[in-house]
Amino acid sequence: MIEYILGHYNYWIVIFLMMTGFYIVISRGNMIKKIAGLNIFQVSVFLLYISIGNVRDGTAPIITEGFTVYSNPLPHVLILTAIVVGVATTSLALALVVRIREAYGTIEEDEIHNKDQSL
C-alpha cells in the first residue's frame, strides 16, 4: 500500500492541482481569474504527461555521452505543442476579455449576464 502511494503520489498531487484550476474555471465569474485558472488546469495536465514520461534515474532526452537512461521524449514533444496551443488560447481569450470589457464595461460574468438580460 505504501509502495502504491509512493508510486503514484506525483499523479495525485498533479490531479489535485488540476482540480484546483478546473474549479477556478468553472466556479468563478471574473474572466481574468478564469483564464488564470484555465492555465493552471492546462499546466497541470502538462505535468501529468511529463510524469507519465518520467523514468527514474533517467535524464533529459538529449543524447550525451555518459548517460544511458533517458526519460521518454514523446510526452515532451506533445506537451511542447500543447503549451503552444495553451498560449494561443490564452491570448485569444484575453483579447476577447478586452473587447468584452470595452463593450460591457465589466469583466464579471454575472454582470454581463444581467446586462444582456436587461436589454
Binding site: 535524464t59 533529459a60 538529449i62 550525451t64 555518459g66
Partner: protein, 96 residues
C-alpha cells in the same frame, strides 16, 4: 553532495519567498518576493544542472533570469503607468 545541500538551501529560501508573496501585504511586497523567487529558481535550475550532470540545462537558467527580468519590468510598468503604450522616453527631463 554539495549540490544537494545547496539545493536544499535554495528550496528553503524559495519557500520563504513564496510565503512572502502569498502574505503580501502590499503589491510591492509581492513583486519583490516574486523577483526573489525568480532569482532563486534560476539558481535552483543551475544547481540542478550540475546535480544531474547536464550542464546544457544552464540555458534554461539563462532564460529564467531573462524572463524574470522582463516580467518584473512589465509589472512595474503597469504599476507605474497603468498601461503599456505610454512612451517611456517622454519624461527624460526628470533626470536632466
Amino acid at each position: 553532495m554539495m549540490f544537494t545541500v545547496a539545493m536544499l538551501a535554495i528550496l528553503i529560501t524559495m519557500g520563504l519567498a513564496l510565503a512572502r508573496a502569498l502574505l503580501g501585504p502590499t503589491v510591492y511586497d509581492r513583486i519583490a518576493a516574486v523577483n526573489m523567487f525568480g532569482t532563486k529558481t534560476v539558481l535552483l535550475i543551475a544547481v540542478f544542472a550540475f546535480l544531474s550532470g547536464r550542464t546544457d540545462l544552464l540555458d534554461i537558467a539563462i532564460i529564467y533570469a531573462l524572463i524574470n527580468f522582463i516580467g518584473v519590468i512589465a509589472v512595474l510598468k503597469l504599476v507605474e503607468q497603468g498601461n503599456f503604450h505610454t512612451d517611456g522616453n517622454n519624461d527624460k527631463a526628470d533626470t536632466k
